[in-house]
């Protein structure tokens, strides 16, 4: 095996020896990486207990680990494994959950936002009605603290599928320095769409090139929809399903909007050709044409925090989640502020909420329900949301202390959006949400980028796409 060549030693490995070594090496690598190859190192797999899937990365999972440990202390017989699933957006997250379902390895509980609430309710999630009736006394304190509009967003065909944990309305963030440079103060609560236009014009006049008065993104939340809602319309027909009285009578008998509550929203047809829809699109088209707003691009607006905090954007719609982001970007609590969305025909706002859904395939639904109840407690929500990275659904948590470090100054706007405008509605998200969102995003940019005629043409295209998706006509 060993021979001396020119004073040095060389090792001649035979082919058989090489193959043996290679085989041993391969076997070693296979054995070493077996947990990875079989997926056994994925938290929660084959480990018993509850698997809870959330949208996020391993750091987000780590953030909820404390919650899981607290839960385990109270329920020692139930192990909870947080499984963070990365995704660009909720749509991406839901697609991955569905793939897990198809692979025969669904989680027991999934954190689902409004965007996927009806998809899960129709196909995957377990209704909570019986559990809520059973534990009504225990839950009364939760419902007393949570606005009924948020709960209604998780009602589907008369049943409740999730307890909302966090939410955000599309309010208007304002860059205070830019506002002052334009000689303006924070607008009044009941400001109008015309006031908004004048504010943008003043901002544009006072700033140099490279400044954008209004920045918006092309997506369901914070895109065109708030402008449709404040014009008392939407791109989908909207009505309420019957039912749900069991919940409203039990927990919200004194709700001023009680008579309007039903068994959940139904969006089952296109409304794209409604004249009010055209009006809203045409207004946005005019903003773009005048240089007051950008043509909206796809994506989640990841660069927006940097642009806003560096004074290159004057106003943008966002929820309470933005307070922490702007704070981390270096903005002081007085550098930005928030106001309700401007009024047009109405001042109805758009909001989105999220909570845990129990999967129909969960082996131990009673244990899953304990987790759902546990995470809806105030102390649990405080653990899950130590900073304003989102808005807690419990009114009692949205307080001075919560925004003390970050601002904005007028933080009560976040929750008052629901109180002042009780007709505010969730993101229009039928079970076909992904396709509906695609149809909307596909046509918005075209609709606001050319002439009024182009706007009408894009809305006809939107109508046609929506009819195809929803099977309506």
């Amino acid at each position: 095996m060993t021979q001396h060549i020119g004073g040095s030693t060389a090792t001649n490995l035979t082919r058989r020896g090489l193959l043996t070594l290679g085989g041993l090496g391969l076997a070693g690598v296979t054995i070493g990486s077996w947990p990875r190859l079989t997926g056994n190192d994925i938290p929660g797999r084959d480990a018993g207990g509850l698997t809870v899937a959330i949208l996020g990365n391993s750091a987000d999972a780590e953030g909820r680990r404390v919650l899981a440990e607290d839960f385990h202390r109270e329920f020692p017989e139930i192990n909870v494994h947080i499984q963070a699933i990365q995704g660009a957006d909720w749509k991406d997250f839901f697609a991955k959950i569905l793939t897990m379902v198809a692979a025969g390895n669904p989680p027991d509980i999934v954190y689902v936002a409004t965007e996927g609430a009806q998809l899960f309710a129709e196909k995957l999630a377990e209704p909570l009605d019986e559990y809520i009736r059973r534990d009504a006394d225990e839950l009364r304190e939760y419902f007393d603290d949570v606005h009924p509009s948020l709960v209604e967003a998780f009602m589907y065909q008369g049943s409740l599928f999730q307890l909302p944990i966090d939410w955000n309305a599309a309010d208007m963030y304002l860059n205070v320095n830019t506002l002052h440079a334009a000689g303006l103060d924070r607008p009044a609560d009941d400001w109008t769409q015309d006031d908004f236009t004048e504010m943008l014009r003043a901002m544009k006049k006072s700033q140099g090139a490279g400044f954008t008065p209004y920045y918006w993104t092309n997506r369901l939340f914070g895109g065109i929809v708030p402008w449709l809602y404040n014009n008392d319309t939407s791109f989908l027909t909207e009505r309420k399903a019957p039912g749900g009285d069991w919940l409203w009578d039990a927990f919200y008998p004194d709700d001023p909007a009680r008579s309007t509550r039903g068994g959940g929203f139904i969006w089952d047809g296109s409304n794209a050709l409604d004249e009010s829809v055209f009006e809203s699109f045409d207004y946005m088209r005019e903003l773009v044409a005048e240089g007051l707003g950008v043509r909206p691009e796809g994506g989640g607006g990841t660069s927006l925090v940097g642009l806003f905090s560096s004074g290159r954007v004057g106003a943008t719609p966002a929820g309470g989640y933005w307070a922490q982001g702007l704070h981390e970007a270096g903005m002081g609590s007085d550098d930005f502020d928030v106001q309700f969305f401007p009024r047009n025909r109405t001042q109805r706002h758009q909001f989105g909420t999220a909570g845990y859904a129990i999967m129909r395939t969960a082996q131990n639904k009673d244990a899953a329900w304990e987790w759902v109840k546990f995470t809806a407690r105030r102390e649990s929500m405080e653990l899950a949301m130590p900073a304003p990275t989102t808005t807690p659904t419990r009114r009692s948590m949205v307080n001075e202390a919560f925004y003390a470090e970050t601002g904005p100054k007028n933080w009560p706007v976040f929750y008052e959006t629901l109180d002042r405008f009780p007709t505010s509605g969730p993101i229009p998200a039928p079970p076909e949400q992904a396709a509906v969102e695609n149809a909307l995003i596909k046509n918005v940019t075209n609709a606001v980028s050319g002439s009024s005629r182009q706007t009408r043409s894009a809305l006809q295209s939107l109508d046609s796409d929506l009819n195809l998706v929803l099977g309506s006509s």
């Binding site: 198809a102 196909k123 954008t212 043509r295 691009e297 290159r312 695609n438 596909k442 796409d465 195809l468």
Partner: protein, 317 residues
Amino acid sequence: MSSKMSRRSASGHAGTTPPSRPKPAPRRRTNNLFAWVLLAPTIVGMGIFTIVPIIGSLVLAFFRWDIISRPEFVGLANFADIALDPTVRVSFLNTIVFVIIAVTLQLGIALVLASMIQERLPDWLRVFFRSTFFFPLVLSAASVSIFMGYLFNEQFGVVNWLIGLVGLAPVPWLTTPAGAAAVVIIVYVWQNFGFSFLLFVGGLGNIPKEVYEAAELDGASGIKKFLNVTMPLLSPTTLVASVMAVITALQVFDQPYVLTRGGPGDSTRSAVMVVFESAFEQLEFGRASAIGLVLMLLIMAVTYVQFQLSRRFVFYQ
């Protein structure tokens, strides 16, 4: 090995004893087994990850399936559905136009740059350019597209800032059909031309210098040498580069998905994007399979045509 076998056989026939039935060669059987062992991982891998999914997809194309419910046999309904769907038609048309423009640019740029660095450049500079031009290919297409999205942002992008320096108005790169298509093509070509470039560098290196010297003696100029010597002798490489470039471009997904999500309108929606959207967003796996199958047939047809055409244009030494 073959020569050894033939010598043995010859000696058997030359002897005085009647020719006996040749014994099977155990050595050959061992070597066959050895070859199969070496090929096994690839065959198993291809079987599991390529052949089975293709068959599965072929079967699925005749079903309606949303992952959650039981698959339902619908015959040719998925194919009829996609034939009538304007989005599918537009996406295939977009893909074909994209392939024509992107592949032409990709091969053209790669050939020009490969020819340039092959001429009169020191070796170290050649290595530098080879690495530089190949580098984008090893980057994640999604990361590159996100980064390029920032560069081409209409309001805040560096590209429009540079355009502004020469007094021109900002270009709505990603928000108009023409601008978005241009950005997708630019990003795709920038990221992919390095592979064709390396093939051309290899091909150019294999052309004997004597042929050029003979051409020079005949009085051929630079452009004539390129057209009459380089191009014909490089034609086998060009065939390989073009076949691979076309197959890759027909499957374009990452760049339009990240940069524009297929918009504005359907202007940058590619065929593979529609497959993805049908399957993972609209939960219509049968329809997605049908579109994928049509795309596979298109790729096979285009590749077949390329090889047929190559009989006329490819010159083998």
